[in-house]
């Protein structure tokens, strides 16, 4: 039982075990690294080739983000701005689970695969037979893990490669299933829920490895990305976000940050004493991969405890974009967006890889819409900062990002560090939810424009002192959230020019937009809303072309695929996640002064729980 480790006595034991375990894994890691490089030349290329080829086939949806570049774009164009008005639901499927449904289905050939929130059931549905269930996988997990999941028991989907389906279970078990039968091929324990380590993000397969992150930023975990061999689940590499160089897999001379080598102990030197051991930097977003550069890209979450006064220093490498070698995990470059976080602005949001012109020059870019309200355009070959601009005009905690140092210019008035413990800092925008959370944006290579689901929420934040106990929340701040002053809408769906750093158009939404977007070659962009609408809008203007109210609020991501000559749009509804927790009862301040408007803002007046997949077509 999880609770057994919480007593002061056994906590010490637990710590002892942890330390021992880090050492073992380090040894294991370096040995495996050696092995890994020998193996790379052999069979592993096959899976890579298969996926690299498959991701180019618009008829299927073979990885969570559609392609390795995290673009959530489809070249399908049967559904267009002209005919989308005629779209209608054609079939639906109840997942039988009530909790928040993030992520979305994969489509491989004639089979659709999807996973549910805890208990993390996986379904294979036959597209040739109206979604008949080919197999169902039901893991057996101790429900006690639910107690240490931060914000609902979400799961952001499965991945496919080499005839296998990979599932990240809540209890930090990574499972490989036979894609044909649903039978377990192997499973491996990637973390310890007794310490608050859980898994929510979708695994990503790169070459012969499957990469998984660890969640638990609110429980003081030591965040990391881990790679396992897809063949047998053997550990290939493990890269922590915070800690000594050999744990974070940094080369002090070769790992770069804004054009300079990071030097030795780049993480350790930014923490007091051993605080890095509960330093957070959890990894729970979407991972991108550039096959030409052989780099994987992802971000790390908040530093341990939300009370900044308790952890002096920049707290590297929390809140950071990592570019790591896919074979070894060694970091090529890093960029920390929010040094010494004071607001819970996790850096985990997706990195979108796009070849675009930036200020007139063609660039292999990485575009990232951070929780902190700035959209960053970086050169993904070396991590140089090209553009950083606010993508919600409400953002006020920093005036701008210094192009040389990459540091935000923090406004003292909104600094919870300057305010100090037990001081309530008011009117910070964005709220801890960020101007955008994990719900992924999309990019159309046709228009060169990004389409972004956003939040429009501010907060008061009061830090206070906490102590670390394994498996207990390590938060240390109270906050209340509310709409920006004088405004009614809690979200916007925007089009973004990453070259200029400018909003092109913006559609206001009653609630935060908490669904992943989809851009298509049919000049239509799709997204879902918390009150349950699937919406289609014109790519050029943002004009609404179609909407349909699904059975529950949408926090899932929109996908598309072809079957039997028809293009389909698929989305999971099922309200929940952090949005469901924060907004079900409306926000603080909604009821003060706003009266009827406040009540109107209660999400629970619009939608109730329940996981359903809805599939649409125009034919």
């Amino acid at each position: 039982m999880i609770r057994n480790v919480c007593g002061p006595k056994s906590r010490m034991d637990q710590r002892g075990i942890n330390v021992a375990r880090f050492r073992t894994s380090l040894l294991g890691c370096s040995i495996l690294l050696g092995l890994g490089s020998a193996v790379v030349l052999g069979g592993p290329a096959a899976a890579n080739d298969e996926l690299t080829k498959l991701q180019g086939d618009a008829n299927q949806w073979v990885m969570p983000a559609g392609n390795y570049a995290n673009q959530r774009y489809s070249a399908l164009d049967k559904i267009t701005a002209d005919n989308v008005g005629k779209m209608h639901p054609v079939w639906s499927f109840s997942t039988g689970v009530l909790r928040g449904h993030e992520g979305g289905p994969l489509v491989i050939g004639n089979v659709m695969y999807l996973s549910t929130p805890f208990p993390n059931n996986v379904f294979a549905l036959d597209l040739n037979d109206n979604g008949k269930i080919l197999w169902k996988y039901e893991p057996h997990q101790d429900p006690a893990v639910i107690a240490v999941m931060c914000c609902d028991t979400v799961n952001r989907g499965v991945s496919y490669a080499d005839g296998k389906i990979f599932l990240s279970q809540a209890d930090a078990t990574l499972v490989a299933l036979d894609a044909k039968t649903g039978k377990e091929v192997w499973s491996v324990k990637n973390g310890d829920p007794a310490k608050g380590e859980t898994m929510t993000s979708a695994p990503v397969v790169v070459k012969d490895k499957v990469l998984v992150g660890i969640s638990g930023g609110e429980f003081g975990v030591q965040g990391r990305m881990t790679a396992y061999n897809i063949k047998d689940g053997k550990l290939a590499w493990k890269a922590y976000s915070v800690g000594p160089d050999d744990q974070i897999l940094f080369d002090p001379q070769k790992t770069m940050s804004l054009g300079h080598p990071v030097g030795a102990n780049s993480s350790l030197s930014t923490w007091q004493g051993e605080q890095w051991k509960n330093g957070g930097g959890s990894v729970w977003g979407w991972t991108a991969y550039d096959p030409a550069l052989n780099l994987v890209y992802y971000g790390s979450g908040n530093p341990g405890t939300w009370n900044p006064a308790q952890r002096p220093g920049d707290n590297k490498w929390s809140m950071t974009v990592f570019a790591r070698d896919a074979d070894t995990g060694v970091a090529k470059w890093v960029y920390q967006m929010t040094p010494h976080d004071e607001w819970d602005y996790d850096g985990v949001n997706e990195m979108i890889l796009a070849d675009i012109n930036v200020k007139g020059k063609p660039v292999k870019a990485l575009v990232h819409f951070d929780r902190n309200g700035f959209a960053y355009t970086l050169d993904r070959t070396n991590g140089d900062l090209l553009v950083a601009e606010k993508y919600d005009p409400a953002v006020n905690w920093a005036s701008h990002v210094d192009p040389e140092t990459g540091r935000p210019d923090v406004q003292k008035q909104y600094s919870t560090q300057a305010g100090g413990e037990d001081h309530n800092v008011k009117g910070i925008c964005p709220a801890a939810l960020g101007s955008k959370d994990q719900q992924p944006a999309s990019f159309s290579p046709k228009t060169g424009v990004f389409y972004v689901p956003t939040n429009h929420v501010c907060m008061d934040y009061e830090p206070f002192k906490v102590s670390y106990t394994a498996g207990q929340p390590f938060v240390g701040a109270t906050l209340s959230m509310f709409p920006p002053q004088g405004q009614q809408n809690l979200g916007n769906f925007i089009a973004w020019d990453a070259s200029q750093g400018k909003i092109l158009w913006s559609d206001p939404e009653t609630f935060s937009v908490w669904s992943g977007a989809l851009a298509t070659a049919g000049n239509v962009v799709f997204y879902g809303t918390l009150d349950g609408y699937l919406k289609a809008v014109d790519m050029k203007t943002g004009k609404e072309l179609y909407k349909y109210k699904t059975p529950s609020g949408i926090i899932g991501n929109i996908n598309t695929y072809m079957h039997d000559g028809h293009q389909y749009i698929a989305v999971l509804s099922g309200v929940g996640g952090w949005a469901g927790i924060g907004m079900a009862a409306g926000l603080a301040g909604d009821t003060e002064g706003l009266g009827a408007v406040g009540a109107y803002k209660q999400l629970s007046n619009y939608t109730q729980l329940g996981g359903v997949l809805s599939v649409f077509s125009v034919d």
Binding site: F118, C150, C151, D460, Q472, I581, L603
Partner: protein, 140 residues
């Protein structure tokens, strides 16, 4: 203290509970004080502890979420005894159709030691004496 002692598993917290004056005082259901919108120290502490340990499931200000029930509503029916019982021991309602887990906080000092304060804060909310958002302290 006397009331909750039987349900605290093991002796882990017993020693520290005995030394806590505020726990020892609680003869009747814990009380709160709200005067001109300003709360006493215990109620404020309850708000803070709620934020640390309960908010992520029960939503802001005890008002409920898509995940766990509104405690503002619950405390209209639950007395302190029943409240303490659930919080100390937890409650699982895990079936084919539901996955509700209310953790047990019996061994969590941040909660077990301040149960009265958390109850008082939520009771003030439930009685309609306290608005949404951060309560005001005397020294604000």
């Amino acid at each position: 203290m006397i009331r909750i002692a039987p349900v605290i598993p093991a002796m882990v917290l017993a020693g520290s509970l005995l030394t806590m004056p505020d726990c020892a005082q609680a003869q009747n259901d814990p009380v709160y004080s709200v005067q001109n919108g300003i709360v006493d120290q215990h109620t404020f502490n309850g708000y803070r502890r709620y934020g640390e340990s309960c908010h992520r499931c029960h939503g802001p200000d005890g008002s409920g979420s898509s995940y766990a029930p509104s405690l503002v509503d619950s405390l209209k029916n639950l007395n302190y005894e029943q409240f303490a019982q659930v919080v100390i021991n937890g409650r699982q309602n895990v079936t084919t159709s539901s996955n509700n887990v209310m953790p047990s906080f019996g061994l969590t000092p941040d909660v077990a030691l301040y149960l009265d304060d958390i109850y008082g804060y939520l009771k003030a909310r439930s009685d309609g004496k306290l608005e949404r958002g951060r309560p005001k302290r005397a020294d604000d």
